[in-house]
Symmetry: C2
Subunit: 394 residues, 2 copies
């Protein structure tokens, strides 16, 4: 019940135990095409280039940034949590000129703040995390696509923490690049990064490929714009997933089976229904921790459905509570990073764990552990408040 | 029965279907430590830094090169097949000054040729593929470690195609960096890259970390030596796998389960016994294709145990043979790349497919398909010759 990775859906694990097939077996290329189609629905996009990057979610982030951004390009990163810092760092390593704006953890930016920064820095790329699990809040993306369109900026977001559990629609938001991971609301293991790229992004990426092929005059020019990674060269990855089927990496077959099954389950449930399920169980967990008398961290009006940050009460040893919950009750909740370290726990209700029994057993167990650790808690207050949410929804 | 990816060992797939645990769950960190220990035995090394890179085998290659090589560093790549070209390309993208020597596909370099190139180019890193599946031959690595030691060169090899099926010992060969993949003789799926780094390599990598932290004077200096990738920054990956457990990527849990099981099975069988198994079934397959009257490609004295390149007979449609074998007999054999495209098939006997029944059914089926496609083949010649090899070994 942490902020992810979480228990995988058993159906995903079963799909991953299927025997391998060769990478150009018609069955395999059909799976690849099906996976592309399924993720178009998950991302709510018509983008042809909707595929998997073979690595964890940060592999998806690095692939997007290294392929879109050439050394010296300006990148704007609004930072409101740990993963904004990651976007900044990756863009810096790619050789970009990175500009950041920062907000206190637990808050998000207004559209006006982001527009001011765009005007001040004139970036090629706006790179913003959607939901930052480190703080539990999600940056509203509405309006940013129009801003980017207006100012000629490419618009990229990472939705690893939010996808499948919160309303999101890549095309409606005007996004050029979106990356994700399986280990949160998608209910799979870390190790495959679904991603989608708009025709405009594809044009930028492919232009770097054609320069590589020898169009530019001098070696320096080629050197300056060539994508700095082979593994994350999206132009090559597009040609591998596309009709050309040009060999690149050897697709990670079992992870593809898993990623495909994650999307299939989500599409089968219905994206809207899945988001509503996350909303319901997230609301029950939030009411539950409040019902136990615990305070929460962060602006609740922009909290993601699938995770809540709970302030560790004064005098309570946060690690001892986590240790007893895991060791004796078999329930894991999360610690925190950076400025929140030692101050809050993060409790997830996502993917396969967005279930009534998971919420109620967590709240029941947390109440017992907190009491044993000397905290004052309302007896039955957590489970009772969660039940109220469930009954209201019936 | 292609050159990989091949059928995974069912025990590996079963291990991968285990439920996930959190990345700092004591069970998970224990699995990580066990995996390190198991791969020390597989690589035959005492290197502390023996771990998994979360991606396919080329992710391991890029992690090694981008972490060891700073822009402007000289790298020497002896190229004798497709994957030598890949090492060259990755080193170029990292900004290295790359020097290559090339040999005709199907042959390998002498130690003297490599020493001459080292003397001529004075590289920081010698990067050479061990077994190149594109040609089926393996570059002998004996003596190269001493050469590198003598000339102050870091010595790196990729053993994706050879590890587990051919004699290999990282420390005895004097290697500083070795990368691999699961999808060949290790009997697992693509998607995790076991790797090991000598103390000397770790020192080089860690020195780039400390510069990153602000030791260098100017921003340019920092920029010049900082590792150009976050995802492949081995200094950070060492701190994630080591005692510090500093959070980096979210370890790909299911792939780790799979990689651990691949190594466990190999260690359980015994590395020497596993190599001997590959030798035996590789010899049977070679004798079998020769017994059918087919010619082979490449220098057989340096052929890997686990794959053979078979010349497509005149007048036979290579793709039609492969199509009928796959479609009607359920047996996949490989096509080829580059100069060998359309000229040879590649047939593997590796990992879970290094088995008597797999060899005999392949030879029996190939005989039938070849006959139906108009080739002149010796009736029973393939299976008979393979049987002779097996009987000699009894």
């Amino acid at each position: 019940m942490g902020p992810g990775p979480i228990n995988a859906d058993p159906r995903v694990l079963r799909a991953m135990s299927a025997q391998l097939v060769g990478q150009y077996d018609p069955a395999m290329t059909a799976y690849m095409n099906e996976t592309m189609e399924l993720y178009r629905e998950v991302f709510q996009t018509a983008n042809e280039q909707t595929l998997l990057i073979d690595g964890t979610s940060r592999a998806g982030i690095e692939a997007a940034i290294v392929s879109l951004v050439a050394p010296g390009d300006r990148v704007l990163v609004p930072i409101f949590g740990r993963f904004g810092h990651l976007l900044r760092e990756i863009a810096e390593r790619v050789g970009a000129e990175v500009h950041v704006i920062e907000r206190e953890w637990g808050t998000v930016f207004t559209e006006a703040e982001i527009e001011r920064a765009i005007l001040a820095t004139k970036p090629k790329l706006l790179a913003v995390v959607h939901g930052d699990t480190s703080t539990t809040v999600a940056q509203p993306l509405e309006g940013l696509g129009e801003l980017c369109e207006k100012h000629g900026v490419l618009f990229y977001t990472d939705v690893t923490a939010s996808l499948g559990g919160n309303t999101f629609a890549a095309d409606a938001l005007g996004l050029d690049a979106v990356t994700a991971g399986l280990q949160k609301c998608l209910g799979g293991p870390s190790g495959s990064a679904p991603a989608t790229f708009s025709p405009r992004a594809v044009e930028v990426i492919d232009s770097r490929k054609s320069i590589e092929a020898g169009i530019a005059g001098s070696a320096d020019e080629i050197h300056a714009t060539r994508i700095r990674s082979n593994y994350f060269d999206l132009a090559m990855i597009f040609d591998y997933w596309g009709e050309k089927r040009l060999n690149h990496h050897t697709e990670a077959t079992s992870m593809l089976y898993g990623a495909r099954e994650c999307a299939r389950l989500l599409v089968d449930e219905g994206i809207t229904a899945a988001v509503e399920r996350h909303r319901l169980h997230g609301a029950a967990m939030l009411a539950g921790v409040q019902g136990l008398g615990l305070a929460t961290f962060g602006d609740l009006s922009v909290k993601m459905n699938n995770v809540v940050a709970v302030v560790i009460p004064d005098g309570v040893n946060g690690d001892a509570v986590r240790g007893e919950l895991l060791g004796d009750f078999g329930i894991e909740i999360g610690t925190s990073f950076g400025p929140l370290h030692g101050k809050v726990w993060r409790i997830g209700t996502m993917g396969y764990n967005a279930r009534t029994d998971a919420v109620l057993t967590t709240l029941a167990s947390l109440e017992q552990v907190l009491r044993r650790q000397g905290a004052v808690v309302t007896a039955g207050g957590g489970v009772g408040a969660a039940y109220d949410v469930y009954e209201d929804a019936r």
